[in-house]
Amino acid sequence: MNSRAYSNPQQATETGPFLASTEAVALPLAGRQALLIHQSLNELLHGIRGIHVFSQVGMSKPALKGIFDPLSAWIRAQEADADGLPIATFDHPFSVAQIRALRNTIELVMLDLGQEEFSTRTGFSLAEAAALLDRFNTALLYPLRIDRQSQAVAH
């Protein structure tokens, strides 16, 4: 869970329910999650054919490369555990627009590769990817302060 979703918590009340797209959000990622994002970006940028990146993801290909390249360099520089996963935490703030684009990337790659290929091509399960999607959605919806534990759905 995020310890601090806003760089400036005051901003939530000032700008309404939406996070400014350029605002930095603290979203530390376990090495496992960082590698899953990297593998999903690799599929989007280099693997899957026929994607209209900007319209389907909400960010241009060069902008996504701007996330992918430093993440790739970070992963290659890390010590890995016995499963080949980076031991360290990737603690680099993302903008709201980047989180939204990463959320869209993972969803798109999950749907394109599907049950048959997601694990073979990325090295992760669809369930792990779904959990990461949930984490991104939680971060993006942080301004709503949804209490998922106690708020029952009324029908």
Binding site: N42, L45, H46, G47, R49, G50, D83, G84, R121, G123
Partner: protein, 99 residues
């Protein structure tokens, strides 16, 4: 990474007659023309036996890259089809960024 001829033939057959043919050849037409499963199997076999590059990935998977064909084969021993084979949009970059 090098495979024995017997292993390579077994893997190539499983991949060519699994989901990869329908997904990447028949539906997506990544090769550019419709080829038979036997032809697909032969392309996979040549990539497994004579890759330009190959390297181990996490979870006992192995990637094989054929620059000539633009074909990437991933052997995944726990997959029912033993992996997949496809023509990535940017094959060399895809291969080099796999973990």
């Amino acid at each position: 990474m090098s495979l024995s001829g017997e292993d390579a033939r077994r893997i190539a057959h499983a991949i060519a007659f699994g989901h990869a043919y329908w997904k990447h050849v028949a539906e997506a037409n990544e090769f550019g023309e419709l080829i038979t499963q036997s032809t697909f199997e032969q392309l996979i076999l040549e990539t497994l036996l004579y890759p330009e590059k190959s390297r181990p990935l996490r979870l006992k998977r192995t990637a094989f890259w054929s620059a000539n064909e633009g074909l990437l084969v991933i052997h995944n021993p726990i997959d029912p089809d033993l992996g997949t084979a496809y023509w990535p949009a940017e094959g060399r970059h895809e291969f080099e960024s796999l973990f």
